[in-house]
């Protein structure tokens, strides 16, 4: 059956990102940011722009591959793909789709990218401005349930209730991200450490989320380039191989008005077994993890649903520095991630996974061989990658 997977057939060979800006502060357009990140990834790989023949993104990225290809002077597009679904559910999905295209022979060098300058368009966190709302949102929006934080706090509250988990677990996740950002000069929160006291003193956004449980909003762009394992060997960087990729969603997830039969979930329950099965490893083999944080509650559930700890162990697993580099049992979001590096809609987590496997992270986990990238939590579909060096 291994013949029918992408395992070990594809490598990430180049990564690129722009400078990360505070929201609304990019001096250039979102499209320019996309162009810059892609060109940097090409240069990092030791390729030429002319080698790029495929594009993949997610969450309705506005930067159309046809316009990108025209602007870049790419000779031909052989693959272009958008992963359905909102939020960060498509981060690993876009990379997985790019990998599938490479393995299928549709294209040779596919770029997965994301560019964001929300201020030039509209922000994610703002409520619906219309006077009337129809469809599934009509069952929640009139009651003031309209933002991502509000949608996900409800699930998190239920998960914490079912498993008797306290605020400490969420605090521990936020502290790890901020600690790692202090090592990373790219990070928006570099030089701005977070203490347990300032976490608890920060305002509530929606219980159980304090301000520091919520992702940042930033301007910037990031890109990665994938090609076959054979081609990767001749390129500039040490290849980072895909052991597995998975995307999807469980039974009736995101049914209208929060009617998902299994409600208190990050939606990874059906993916994680497929992911580890494809890779032929177990969760114990994961040395470092990059887990998408729209909100810390989703990270908590993701860790459990990937088998990195049980729900009963989750609070202990997330506290006492266990998620912190260099001494914790599982260093998490070692660049600072969406909470403290920058919100590149999670694609920065893939870049950090690649750095960990290359051995070039600013919080380099010693002898790290396997990195999990989990993207989405609590949305549908969600997606996963397992990277190795």
């Amino acid at each position: 059956m291994t013949d029918y997977t992408i395992k070990d057939k594809v490598a990430i060979v180049g990564i690129g990102e722009t400078r990360y800006y505070k929201a609304g502060q990019s001096p250039v357009s979102e499209f320019q940011l996309a162009l810059e990140a892609i060109q940097k990834a090409v240069a990092d790989a030791g390729l030429q722009v002319e080698d790029i023949d495929g594009f993949a993104s997610y969450s309705d990225d506005r930067n159309d591959p046809v316009r990108l290809a025209a602007a870049l002077g790419v000779p031909q597009i052989q693959f272009s793909n958008m992963h359905w679904g909102g939020g960060g559910g498509g981060v690993a999905g876009a990379v997985g789709n790019a990998a599938a295209a490479v393995v299928a022979g549709y294209a040779k060098h596919v770029v997965a990218f994301r560019a964001l300058a929300q201020g030039q368009f509209g922000r994610f966190g703002q409520g619906h401005a219309g006077a009337r709302v129809r469809g599934p949102m009509a069952y929640s929006m009139p009651y003031g349930l309209m933002s991502p934080a509000q949608m996900f706090a409800m699930r998190t509250q239920r998960f914490m209730y079912e498993h008797n988990i306290s605020q400490e677990a969420l605090c521990g996740i936020a502290l790890a991200s901020y600690k790692h950002a202090q090592q990373n000069p790219r990070a928006i929160m570099y030089g701005r450490p977070l203490t347990r006291e300032s976490y608890y003193n920060s305002r509530w956004i929606v219980e159980p989320f304090h301000l520091f449980d919520c992702c940042l909003e930033n301007d910037g762009a990031a890109a990665v380039i994938l090609t076959t394992t054979e081609r990767a060997r001749d390129l500039k960087q040490k290849p980072v191989y895909l052991m597995a990729a998975a995307q999807g969603s469980g039974y009736r997830q995101w049914t209208a008005a929060h009617n998902d039969p299994d409600y208190a979930t990050s939606n990874f329950k059906t993916l994680a077994p497929r992911l580890f099965g494809m890779a032929g490893i177990t969760p114990k083999d994961v040395d470092v993890a990059q887990v998408y944080e729209n909100f810390t509650g989703g990270v908590l559930m993701s860790l459990v649903e990937h088998g990195l700890c049980s729900a009963e162990e989750a609070e202990a697993f997330c506290t006492n520095g266990n998620l912190e580099w260099p001494n914790g049992g599982l260093p998490l979001n070692t660049s600072g991630g969406n909470l403290a590096e920058a919100y590149m809609h999670g694609l920065e987590l893939v870049l950090e996974g690649v750095r960990q496997m290359r051995g070039t992270s600013t919080c380099q986990v010693k002898d790290a061989q396997v990195c999990l990238v989990a993207a989405g939590p609590m949305v549908a579909p969600v997606s996963d990658l397992l990277l190795r060096n």
Binding site: V133, A138, Y139, G144, A149, R158, A256
Partner: protein, 148 residues
């Protein structure tokens, strides 16, 4: 229902988006029901399954023969949240408010979102018993909840 609870005082300020039926008619019976102070949930005529939000077919047996049945409007808090940060302009001066996700045991445990009326700082527990309160607006009625 023994006593019908109705309010014309909106829990959230004026200016919040109000519901309107879907143009394809799928949920028109639900919103017509709330106007008449009836809490209607879809039920499959073939296999008896309940579902909410409405759909064109039954998720269990895929029958297209669906009816609308009335719930007593008594439920239990399945999850809740206290919102502090306003994301809509109408909520800027509102202060915290409570949203509950209510499970309806007499309708296959389907869930509905609403506000929990009363003090927004009140202590809420998952499992608390609540009943429906009809919040009447000019041409539409919202489904709200209060403790029993």
């Amino acid at each position: 229902m023994s006593v019908e609870h109705v309010t014309t005082v909106s829990y959230l300020p004026e200016g919040m988006p109000l519901p309107a039926p879907m143009p394809d008619g799928l949920d028109a019976p639900f919103w017509e029901g709330t106007k008449q102070h009836k809490l209607l949930v879809q039920r499959c005529k073939t296999c008896g399954s309940f579902q909410f939000g409405p759909e064109w077919i039954c998720h269990k047996c895929r029958s297209g023969e669906l009816s609308w049945v009335e719930s007593s409007g008594r439920g239990k808090v399945y999850a809740f949240e206290r919102v502090w940060h306003p994301v809509h302009k109408a909520l800027k001066e509102r202060g915290p408010y409570l949203i509950v996700l209510v499970e309806l045991p007499d309708a296959g445990n389907v869930r509905m979102v609403g506000n929990l009326l009363g003090d927004p700082q009140q202590d809420v527990k998952i499992g608390d018993s609540v009943e429906v309160v009809w919040e009447d607006h000019t041409d539409v009625t919202l489904v709200q909840w209060q403790r029993i």
